[in-house]
Symmetry: C2
Subunit: 220 residues, 2 copies
């Protein structure tokens, strides 16, 4: 039951709203409960209990439930994005880079955190617009931008032929969901088997290369 709060004691404490010493406890507890029960489903009392903090303290840090959730979501998405899209050798052939990217995307979609956060943000994003936008920007949009950066690189190298880079990036990300995402999100499958993942990833890479690889250009 010991929360892993290692290297984040005095880092991102810029213009935030914290005042005291139990800031991290609150955030950790909130993350646990929100991920377990969703946004509406999570009660503030539960969060305070899990955090080992009085409700008064919690409300001293975060003026309301939404702000608290936003903070949790923001931090966690940034963390996931950082540690996911780091170690990719962008000089490798497109098939290799794309496969690596696909593996990371699939891993995120399949993860417990990815699924629950997606669910919550989708659910709440019309009565709570700021949340949807925040998630979109630090999720799908970020992935698209990184992918687009690489695609531009590969096009410059003559490895790929793409006119609408943004569209291509979105298409690839979307292909990585095929058959997997819906089954997970709607609870048809509890988790993605390695076989399913491989099938989707292979399919995505092959399709992308068929469309944008240089081999196809011989026909044009």
């Amino acid at each position: 039951m010991i929360a892993p709060m290692d290297a984040r004691r005095m880092d991102d404490r810029q213009g935030s709203i914290r005042k005291g010493r139990k800031f991290d406890q609150v955030l950790d507890g909130a993350r646990t409960i929100f991920l377990r029960d969703g946004f509406e489903g999570a009660s503030v009392d539960d969060i305070a209990r899990e955090a080992g903090v009085s409700k008064a303290t919690l409300y001293a840090y975060f003026p309301d439930k939404r702000l608290l959730f936003m903070e949790v979501a923001k931090g966690e998405c940034a963390r996931q994005a950082d540690e996911a899209l780091q170690v990719l050798d962008l000089t490798a052939p497109p098939e290799v880079v794309l496969r690596g990217a696909a593996e990371r995307i699939v891993a995120f979609l399949s993860s417990d955190f990815g699924q629950k956060m997606f669910r919550i943000c989708v659910a709440e994003s019309d009565r709570f617009p700021a949340l949807g936008q925040e998630f979109y920007q630090s999720g799908p949009l970020l992935v698209r931008e990184r992918l687009a950066d690489y695609l531009r690189l590969a096009v410059g190298r003559g490895e790929l032929a793409i006119d609408d880079i943004d569209l291509a990036a979105d298409q690839f990300a979307e292909l990585c969901k095929a058959d997997l995402h819906a089954r997970l999100i709607f609870g048809i499958a509890a988790e993605a088997t390695a076989r399913d993942a491989r099938r989707t990833i292979d399919g995505a890479v092959e399709m992308f290369m068929a469309r944008y690889g240089m081999a196809a250009r011989k026909l044009a």
Copy 2:
């Protein structure tokens, strides 16, 4: 304020649980409120008021809120699916058939109903598993099956070359979401412009044909 309840007075009244004359009123009211407020967000009192019916009557038809929502979702999804995937000339060239299918898929994703139902089902599908499964079966799965049927046809005709038909169908459906679905779902864009829709649809058809069209086979 007159609900359009035309040709469904004495049709699907098989083994259901109705007893009286205000069945349709309840369902119509429930649909309105559920679509406006979501599942958790909708209060049974609101539904009864909108339906012009007492709460006691409502509970005489539907033992609880979930059953009521399931009935609404089931009926509405079936209706949408029927009227959407009907008028397609399957003998036309693949580019044409696929474009037609893509247009319908995009239209559904962009529709108010499509968005709200998706949101609700995603949100509720882990604390309410039957709902997620019901939606998956009468939504994504149904689309995939119809698409797969057509693809098999086209492959038999020698117009396409596909080994994993189910995967191809999923890929196509997924490509139709590129850049559109996320922006709508997370409230970045209020609605899809005709230009955006065309871009996504063209992109999906071109990519699919590049991968599975007969032209590509010349290389293998």
